[in-house]
Every structure is written in structure tokens, then in C-alpha cells.
Symmetry: C2
Subunit: 458 residues, 2 copies
């Protein structure tokens, strides 16, 4: 009785001292903090978009009376997932060219289709569809590289999603820039516009070492440094890319990037499939972020990235979906988690390779590190922004539960994500999207689909 | 006006001649018939549990007035998926022991846990949970091997699902039989009980060549022949199994099975990962069915089955989930389809390997062949039983659609399955399970979970 009164008093005291906006409770809170705490019957409190407390339900309810309380007794609360590599607008070309040789895929379908279809309108609707799919499947932040990236940024911000978004710079004429120099100008306008945004980190994205000159790569780095933003690029996706680099430059793409000084500032590299020991050492000493894309690497038969070696070096390697036009067909990190683990196991012939916990780490806090955002997101810790997902345990595949990481990585699905909060704002509640006009998106996507289909007919 | 009257007249005429129970319409009907017809705006008509017509909506609506009409203008109608390998009750041990060495997994977790927990009650509730998960994800028929298989059969039949269900026979004492001889007796009682059942095909399931003597394998075959039912067994799952067989018998498991006459009747083998050219030739001339289990083979690091070579020989190779206690964590053929394709692509380093259409074939008609059921199910064709699924195109990952097989294999999810009909009976409508008490299953599974968890604590 004494204790009860004390709690009540404390509650009242706390109410005056620390009112919170939202208290969310769950069967398990998977924090991904330094101690990797998993709190059974836990809760988190959010105020002003920031996580102000994480702990057991009872204590939290006493200490943090809330304006809004959301109880999820049959769900997991977890950090929002981080998609470290995407080309969001390509979602409009989902499945347009599958099961083809790489050359045929790119040259007969993707490049012609992009040439004919990629306009401002395409980028807007494609991004809307992509952020709808991503947020709905528990992704709260993503890295992107495409054309008209300022529109990708507008739509991402409007939807309330977090992004590290890179304007593409590439040697040949593309839909939003006839030359790489014009691409660079476009990038600079973009960087200016999104300086110090709460959700969007603009970036410079030279497509790849093999599609840019030394001078252009260096100009891109200078621009990124000037605005203190990251540089994003594709590196060593295919074996052929490495062979070409050796022939032309006498060194690997990673060696070339280091030699040119490109890796001196914050850098995110996508794929990194064909990395030598020396390349991995370069990655370690340059502290680059790496996007591992298991679906894409498998589907395009690019190869198998050395994820175990990357983790041994404690590299910031996250998971990515890549774009959904051949390299993948969806933007689903639950599937990438499952694939990442299974791919390492079968290719090393050791079932212990890449545990569920390691994979979940890649999809959250390690992915946040890859994006240079680990101070802000990637775990449920006091002081970080509230990027949190509620994953329901209602479906039959969610029960019974013996290990929460196993369940998240191998059993639970994107469709189990019930609620999503980004930066303290609900973007999905009870599977209802709160920041998007989904019927309008569906209609416009259907309209664009007919145009695109007609344009690639042989 | 004339045409309208004519239609009405025709409708009336047809009504008298061919009333149907149900007409289901969809945006696409993926028939998987011999011509691989995909009908845009199609329909199928069902009478007495049998498919009586498949065709364009307009014509079908005219010719087949129906007592019940189900319109799904934004969905795909497809044959129910066939899970060619499962251990249904093991669903109760979902994720109990992941990321371990094979020996540790089996000897420290699975065998002790089975020894302490596998009772009639365990098998009943485990099967209920499994058929719930399977039907909900679009699986309409499955092959199983476990203990107390008569209870697996009871629960499967009660749920309205189709099964080829094998009573396990194994060298060492197991929960339902102290000796293989007693297992064989149990199997015979089971075969007698389910002779000529409309949904259940009982089977004899010697666990594997390496866990049974020559004599016992032959006794199992004789029993299967006597009752004209299939024999199910695991073959060449691991490299070590083959090496042991070479050492002990001077031949591979497939060679041994052929030599012993085991393959002379209908046989379904699971895994078939380590198959030599000669083993594949044996499979071809014996016309065995093969269950390919990509999740299990990857997760346990068993290896990569030679699926492309199997298809070259036109073998009856289907897809399987295996059991969800370490070898997998769910019973989800949509994920197995995606994995099967991607695994072949990355291991052959050719993105053309195993197309979406080939994979969908494995999950349907080729899987039906593996189970000896191709006359009855596996495609939407006149004269077959009505095993059909409705896959919604409502979610963002389902749009746009350029290729229906790509969408089914690489983009759509088990959670998109909206309705399921088996043998002409709806078992799920609008995501509502119609033949299962799901809340009761959930409660009992939670209760059993505590028992199981306590039993494996070190």
C-alpha cells in the first residue's frame, strides 16, 4: 500500500515534470542499443519526436503519463528498418524485365525504358509508390540514387520519411542532365535546397567509378565536402567491372577511389560484391558505409558479398533492396534479412554464418551507421529520434515464439508491420497510411504503366 | 437488343443444362494448363467440387449462371500451391534452435525436444497451426512425414486440406513406436483407415536410407504397394550422408534405393541435394517425385540442389518448405519460389537460370506430379478438383504489373492470398479462416510453448 501510494505520488510528480506525447507498449521491445536489450512487456515514451525513455511497461506507465497511449500486447516494438540502397522511382518498372542476361536487361530494357519514360512526373509517382511500399513494410529511412532527385526528396519529405538522397552524376546523357557537368550543377542546387532538413540528407551520387571520369569523381567529392554531405556510388557489383578497372587503371575500383581521394569524406558504397582483402582494408580505413543487396546480387547473378569478413572488420554494412526493375521486384527488408542470412550460410556451407541477431543489426543500427545516421536513428535509445515500428504477432507464422531475433528475421513478414512512426509522427496506424493518397497513387501508376509497357514493346 | 435477348435465352438454356455452384472471376486467370494459358479478365466455374469451365469472363458469365458469384477484378486466380515436403507438427518448435551446426541442432535440440514433447496432443495442435498457416498462404495440398501421422491426417481432413501424409519408420525408438516394426504396424493401420479418402492419401515414410535397414526399406515398399500408396523418404540431403553411404554400401543412397527395388512404385524423395549424374538418371527412369526445399537447404547449409538438371530431364520436382524448427521458420511457398529462383541464378552465375514461370510451375503442376496428383490438382483445368487461390493485387508491391509470373514469384506475398478453395470448398474467404478455430489454436499453442521451452532449457 505504501509502495502504491508512492507510485501514485511519483506518477503525479512526473506528470508535472515530464509529460510525453506518446507511450507505446509491446510484448517485446527490441532496442538494438549497445547492450542489445530486449525488454519483455516493455514500452517507449516519445516527446517532441524524440525517444525520452525505454523500459518495462509498469515503470514507464508510472513515470511517463502520456497524451496518447498505444498498447500492443501482441507485438514487437523495434527500430524502423533502414534500406541502404534504392532507386525509388524505378518501382514503376517492377518486373518489366526479369530473368535476362545483365547486358540484355540493361541495354534492351532498362536504358531504353528510362530514356523514354523518366520525366518529373515519372519520378514523382514512382517515389510515391516506393515510399508507400517501404513505409508499409517497416522501412523508416532509405538511401537513394536517381534522376530528378530533388523530386524524390520532395515526395519523401511530404510522406514523412527519412532519406539520404543522391543526385546521379554519370558520363552519358540522362533524362535530367545532358552532361555530367550539368548533373553536378543540378546536384548543387539540390544540396542548397535541402541543407539542414530534419528528414532529408541530400547527397551527391556519381553513379559508379566505371561510369565517371577521375575528374568528375573528384568534382563530386569536392561538392559533397563543400556542403558536408555524403557521396553515394556503386562499387564492384560485378566481376567484369573489376576486371575492366584492372585493365584500364591497373587497380580495383576501391583502390582507384582511394587513390583519387574520393573516400576521404562520408561515403556510402552499394554492392561491394567483388572486394579483395585490400579492398576491404580500404573500406575499413576509409570508414565507408556499405549497402549489401542480397536479392539484387542473387537475381542478377552478380555474386556473393563477403559479409562475414566485413563484420569481422566491424564495417558499417547495412541491407538494401536496390531498385525494383529487374534487380529486385519489391522494397522489402524483411525478405532481404531472410535472404542475407541464408545466402551466407549456404555459400560458406556453415549454418552458423550470419546469425539472426547479426542480420537484424544490419537492418537497423549498422545500416544507420552506413548512412551516417547512427546518432539519430537505428535503435530505440533515449535521445534518438522516434523511428519505430510495431510488428504484430497475430498471424499463425508468428507463433510460437522462442527467440525474438529468429522470429524477426526468419518468420515475420513486412505484412506484419502494423504501425510505423518516423521522427515522432505516425505514418501508418493499424495498416492505414496516414500521409499518402493511396488510391490516387494506384490510379496514376496504372496510367503510367500503360505508357511504359507501350514504350518497351519490341 | 437482339443480341441481349439471345444472351438471355442462351443463359436460360445453359442454366437448365449446366448450373454451376460457383463462378469466380479475376483480372488474370493463370491456368498452368498444357498451353500455359493466362486469361486476362477470366473466370472459372465449379460444380460439385470440380472445375467445369475456365475462360474469358463474358463468355463464362453467359454460359455458366452460378448460385454463387465471386468477383475479384483486382486479383489473380491461380492453382493452389503444393508444398511437397513438410513436418507439420514441428511448427510448434518454430525458431527453437537456429543458426547452429547440424549436429548440435539435431542432437542438442530437436531430438531431445521431440523425445520430451511429441505426444498425440502435440501432433494435433501442431498440425492445426500448420494447416492454418499453409492454407492462409495459398497452399492447398502438402506432403508430410511425422509421427502419429493418423492424427495429422485427421486434422488435415477436418480443416479441408489435401495431403499426402506419411507415417514415419525409423531405426531408433520414437514417440509413437519403440521399433521400426511397430512403426510399420502403425503405418498399416493408418493406410487401412484412409483408403480411398477424397482428401487424404496415406503413405509409408521410411525416414531415410541411412536411418533404415535394407530389410525395413523393402518392407515399407511392400506395404506401400499392397495398399497402392506412395512411399516418402529423405534422400541425399547432406554431403556427409552420401559419403557414409559410399563407405558403408559402396554406392550412393539413390543407387542403394534402386538396387533394393524401393523405387519401383510411386516414390517422393525430399531434398536430393547431392545427386550425381547417375543418381539423376535413376530418378528419371524411376519417375520419382522430388521435393526441392531451398530455405532448408540454405539455412542448414546442406547445399544447392541441381534443379536445372532436374528440369532438363523433366523430373517431377516441386517446392517444399520442410519443417519449421530450424530448417525453416515458416510454411510459405511464396518465399520458397523467390528463393528457388534466386539461389539457382547466383550459384550458376546466370540470371536466366530458373525463370519465374518455371518456378511457378514447380510450385503448382510439377509439384502435383511429384505427389502423384497431377490428374486431380495443380492446374485450373476442366475435370480437375477445384483447388484455387485468389491473390490480391491491392498492396503497393503488387503494382504495376508487367508480367504475371514475375509478379507471382518475385513480388507477391503469402499475405496477398485473399481466398482459398480446396476441393470446391472455401477454406478462407476475405482472409477469414472458415474451417479452423483460430483463437483456440493460438491459446493452446501458447500453452504448449511454455512446456516446450522449459523442456529444452539446458
Amino acid at each position: 500500500m505504501t509502495r502504491y501510494c508512492f507510485s501514485l505520488l511519483l506518477g503525479v510528480t512526473t506528470l508535472a515534470a515530464q509529460p510525453v506525447d506518446t507511450l507505446i507498449t509491446g510484448r517485446y521491445v527490441v532496442t538494438m542499443d549497445g547492450a542489445r536489450r530486449v525488454i519483455e512487456n516493455g514500452a517507449m515514451a516519445v516527446r517532441g519526436g524524440e525517444i525520452v525513455a525505454v523500459g518495462p511497461v509498469g515503470e514507464m506507465a508510472r513515470k511517463h503519463p502520456a497524451k496518447q497511449r498505444v498498447d500492443r500486447p501482441r507485438a514487437i516494438l523495434a527500430p524502423g528498418l533502414i534500406n541502404t540502397h534504392c532507386h525509388a522511382p524505378m518501382t514503376l518498372m517492377r518486373g518489366i524485365a526479369d530473368d535476362l542476361r545483365l547486358q540484355d536487361w540493361l541495354e534492351k530494357f532498362i536504358f531504353p525504358a528510362e530514356g523514354k519514360n523518366v520525366t518529373a512526373e515519372f519520378v514523382r509517382w514512382g517515389t510515391r509508390l516506393a515510399v508507400w511500399e517501404m513505409m508499409r513494410s517497416g522501412i523508416t529511412a532509405y538511401a537513394d540514387m536517381y534522376y530528378f532527385e530533388e523530386l524524390v526528396a520532395e515526395e519523401t519529405k511530404r510522406a514523412g520519411m527519412r532519406g539520404v538522397l543522391g543526385q546521379t552524376i554519370i558520363r552519358f546523357p540522362v533524362p535530367d542532365a545532358q552532361t555530367p557537368e550539368l548533373g553536378l550543377e543540378r546536384a548543387e542546387r539540390f544540396l542548397k535546397r535541402y541543407q539542414n532538413d530534419s528528414l532529408i540528407v541530400p547527397a551527391v551520387a556519381p553513379h559508379a567509378p566505371y561510369t565517371n571520369s577521375d575528374a568528375m569523381l573528384q568534382a563530386a567529392r569536392r561538392l559533397a565536402d563543400q556542403y558536408r554531405v555524403p557521396l553515394i556510388t556503386h562499387v564492384s557489383e560485378t566481376k567484369r567491372e573489376n576486371e575492366d578497372s584492372e585493365r584500364e587503371f591497373g587497380m580495383s575500383p576501391m583502390q582507384r577511389l582511394e587513390r583519387l581521394g574520393i573516400l576521404k569524406g562520408p561515403t556510402l558504397i552499394a554492392h561491394a560484391v567483388w572486394m579483395s582483402d585490400e579492398d576491404l582494408r580500404i573500406a575499413a580505413r576509409s570508414r565507408v558505409g556499405i549497402a549489401h543487396n542480397p536479392s539484387s546480387n542473387m537475381k542478377l547473378a552478380s555474386g556473393v558479398a563477403r559479409v562475414l569478413d566485413m563484420l569481422k572488420l566491424d564495417l558499417a554494412v547495412g541491407l538494401g533492396t536496390d531498385g525494383p526493375a529487374g534487380s529486385n521486384n519489391d522494397l522489402n527488408l524483411f525478405e532481404e534479412m531472410d535472404l542475407a542470412a541464408k545466402l551466407q550460410k549456404v555459400t560458406t556451407m556453415d549454418p552458423r554464418s550470419l546469425s539472426a541477431e547479426q542480420v537484424f543489426e544490419m537492418a537497423t543500427i549498422r545500416g544507420a551507421r552506413a548512412l551516417g545516421m547512427a546518432q539519430k536513428t537505428g535503435s530505440l535509445e533515449v535521445g534518438k529520434r522516434a523511428d519505430v515500428i510495431v510488428v504484430s504477432l497475430d498471424e499463425p507464422h508468428a507463433t510460437p515464439i522462442f527467440n525474438v531475433y529468429s522470429q524477426l528475421v526468419y518468420a515475420l513478414k513486412a505484412s506484419d508491420v502494423r504501425d510505423v512512426m518516423i521522427d515522432g509522427r505516425w505514418v501508418m496506424r493499424d495498416r492505414q497510411m496516414l500521409t499518402l493518397q493511396t488510391e490516387e497513387i494506384r490510379r496514376e501508376v496504372e496510367r503510367l504503366r500503360s505508357q511504359i509497357a507501350a514504350s518497351v514493346r519490341p
